[in-house]
């Protein structure tokens, strides 16, 4: 941990761009979309200024093509990176399955943006969570520092298990808000993240291969199982890489769920991404007022940290799941996952789903306090008033 970080005041998007640069990405293919655009603009600037040596930027006509280009590049063994948001991510959907199916460790930053209509450029997690079943790992960043650290770790994890990874940050709250980010000197990043060792490469001309071959009913099944094995292995790799990152650079990410003041907590707030920064601040305020509360920030949504959730759930009476997203016809997506993960266990905390902040609706410390008051009542009476609460709804 004896190193001098490079401190810069930068946006979440610039943190992503610098991380891609420090990861020595070799191919970037992307299509502009607000609020992601400044990531690839910054990367283009690195190239124009001659600040990067071996980086090909591929301008494409759509996000679908952006991911297709990354897949081609990654299949040659290159380290590929892209970034997108909302409708752009949705347009990539087909290719997301392709990337994981062909076992290519592409890293992408998704800047969470609400799906249209109505048109919105503001923060909402439904775009990335709707890609839940594509075989991509997903890491949700709380702040700009985590965007930077997340991209570096994602490459290492992805290239170990040969699956793609998505680093998710919030529209504007992180993407365009400037904050201090401690960056790591290049030679130390190089030590942490050595060049990629691909599973296969299209450019091995002595051993020509076809990628994405036909899988008849006799073979398809086994390849799907292998993806799931890799996801399971990823849990261990994430713990290991997160610990190594902490030892080397002072910020530990060994836990897939970051626990904040949860020891002796009666109930906890659980959620993803930047809104958990607000929640942590609220926890400090509530603690000073006598509430026994804590925060559980789910860093990795895929693979889902079910064991860590179980360990937490065993020791608390209630979990308030804050979802800045919604799965129509059911409930908040994190709530759905968390409830499901606990069903066959002996941990049975009272769980309530609060739908907050959709489309960038402001979510503040005083909102967390109101939710805490509601949760306290529920736990004292041991009676759930309702399972899903559209918290901000104008009534």
């Amino acid at each position: 941990m004896d190193y001098k970080p490079i401190k810069k005041v930068i946006s979440g998007n610039y943190a992503a761009a610098y991380a891609a640069k420090h990861a020595r990405v070799e191919v970037v293919a992307a299509y502009p979309i607000t609020p992601q655009t400044s990531i690839i603009e910054k990367i283009s600037e690195f190239i124009a200024n001659g600040e990067v040596e071996n980086l090909q930027y591929v301008p494409v006509e759509s996000e679908h093509s952006a991911m297709a280009a990354c897949i081609g590049a990654s299949a040659t063994g290159a380290r590929a990176f892209t970034a997108t948001s909302a409708q752009g991510l949705a347009l990539m959907h087909e290719m997301l399955h392709w990337a994981s199916g062909a076992r290519l460790p592409i890293v992408m930053v998704d800047v969470n943006r609400a799906m249209a209509p109505p048109w919105s450029v503001w923060d909402d997690q439904t775009d990335s969570l709707a890609q839940r079943d594509t075989g991509w790992m997903q890491f949700y960043a709380e702040n700009n520092q985590e965007v930077y650290d997340g991209v570096l770790m994602a490459f290492k994890v992805a290239e170990t298990v040969n699956l793609p990874a998505m680093i998710v940050e919030s529209a504007f709250i992180l993407s365009h808000t400037y904050d201090v980010v401690e960056m790591i000197p290049q030679e130390l990043v190089d030590e942490f993240l050595p060049p990629r060792k691909p599973l296969y490469t299209l450019t091995d001309f002595d051993n020509p291969i076809a990628v994405g071959a036909l899988g008849t009913p006799a073979d398809y099944y086994e390849f799907r199982y292998k993806i799931e094995k890799a996801m399971e292995e990823a849990r261990e790799v994430i713990h290991k890489v997160g610990r190594e990152f902490g030892e080397k650079f002072g910020r530990d990410y060994s836990q897939m769920i970051e626990l904040y003041r949860t020891e002796d907590a009666e109930f906890v707030f659980m959620g993803l991404g930047s809104l958990m920064g607000t929640v942590k601040q609220a926890v400090d305020v509530l603690r000073s007022e006598g509430y026994k509360v804590g925060a559980a920030k789910v860093r990795w949504f895929r693979p889902f940290p079910k064991e860590e959730l179980y360990e937490l759930a065993k020791h608390v009476e209630g979990i308030a799941v804050l979802d800045r997203n919604f799965s129509f016809g059911q409930e908040g997506i994190l709530f759905n996952e968390a409830k499901g993960a606990l069903y066959n266990t002996d941990a049975k905390p009272i769980m309530k789903n609060y739908i907050v902040g959709l489309g960038g609706r402001d979510f503040t410390v005083s909102d967390v306090r109101k939710i805490a008051e509601n949760m306290k009542k529920i736990i004292e009476s041991r009676k759930l008033d309702r399972e899903i609460e559209w918290y901000h709804l104008k009534r």
Binding site: G101, P208, V211, A213, G215, A218, D219, E222, F223, K226
Partner: protein, 105 residues
Amino acid sequence: MDTPFGERKSDAQRIAFKSVDEYPEAPISLGTTLINFTGDWRTFIPVVDDEKCVKCYICWKFCPEPAIFIREDGYIGIDYDYCKGCGICANECPTKAITMVKEEK
């Protein structure tokens, strides 16, 4: 028998994996397509008239299998084990040297 491309058709083997561990990690070339005798699919068979052929090899370029090869005398040959009878060669041939004929099986 050898293919016109030098590989032995008899060497082509269907790969069957018995356990999940035998599979490659990613779905890459599980074997050779030499085992797929796509000639089975054919309804119409291309017949070449060497007298009309000007050796432009347009058919050779367009055949999707590829089933067309160039013979030693410079004319084209068709490997009917793999020619699936799509008719692209006949359509592309500028001198109409290839005709598609209903195949009697």
